[in-house]
């Protein structure tokens, strides 16, 4: 089963890696640093809500959350295998890594779908 999934998992890894490479620097800079430190005029609650209400913005956020989660899960799995030599624990590692990514994806889908 996992073997059959391997091409899909590598696809999600590279798609998520590309999304993270292209979009995360800006998002971390703005959401994580510029807004909390007060260095830019904050888009406040109301303007954020009106922004996220747009279906395209929600699709964008879904991609932004979900694909990098799968990218991270896949990469972390192999880091545990090779870096910490834990390949003999592959069953729990696979379940925890992809399970977390799936849970995060489901949560993102839920909140974004029901967003109003």
């Amino acid at each position: 089963m996992l073997k059959k999934m391997t091409p899909l998992l590598w696809f999600l890894f590279s798609a998520g890696g590309t999304v993270a490479a292209l979009l995360f620097p800006l998002h971390v800079l703005v959401t994580g640093l510029l807004i909390p430190l007060g260095w830019i005029d904050v888009p406040g609650y109301d303007s954020m809500v009106s922004l996220v209400s747009h279906p395209l913005a929600r699709a964008y956020l879904f991609v932004l959350i979900s694909l990098p989660l799968f990218h991270g899960a896949h990469r972390f799995r192999y880091t545990l295998y090779d870096g910490l030599k834990l390949k003999h624990l592959h069953v729990p590692i696979v379940l925890i890594c992809y399970g977390s990514a799936l849970t995060g994806t489901a949560a993102a889908a839920f909140f974004l779908w029901n967003f109003s």
Partner: protein, 138 residues
């Protein structure tokens, strides 16, 4: 023959020199490789922070205020500085690997690696500018 461990499908009897768990500490090149692979953790953490932000937005202005208060705490700022550095490292190494992951040919000739890398950086700039404009520029 067992394939349970997943390592040694073939030649299971070959002697393998035992490698320490800390093999990657022995050279800067290995260390950079492990650090690059470990950018997966900050990347996933930032995905979860974004998920939390969306949830707070969905739960109303008080929930969103709690999110913003936490994000401006010293701990969160330090965490976000670390995430920012890691994400930039991810972007740089991802673009560096792009020509190795995908060979591009134009009229039969292989496009030089440096052109692929530079076009990745240009794409990054354009995408960031477009998103920033939609998000903050109005």
């Amino acid at each position: 023959m067992t394939t349970e461990s997943g390592y040694t499908l073939y030649h299971p009897k070959w002697y393998r020199h035992p490698v320490s768990v800390w093999w990657w500490l022995s050279s800067w090149g290995y260390m950079k490789f492990v650090l690059r692979e470990l950018t997966s953790v900050p990347v996933a953490i930032f995905s979860l922070l974004t998920l939390w932000q969306v949830r707070s937005l969905a739960n109303g202005s008080e929930a969103y205020a709690r999110f913003e208060t936490w994000m401006s705490s010293p701990l969160a700022v330090v965490l976000n500085v670390l995430i920012f550095v890691a994400v930039l490292f991810h972007t740089q190494t991802w673009f560096l690997a792009a020509p190795k992951a995908m060979e591009v040919r134009l009229s039969g000739k292989r496009v030089p690696d440096i052109l692929i890398i530079v076009s990745n950086y240009i794409g990054w700039g354009v995408v960031s500018a477009v998103v920033a404009w939609f998000w903050l520029g109005r």
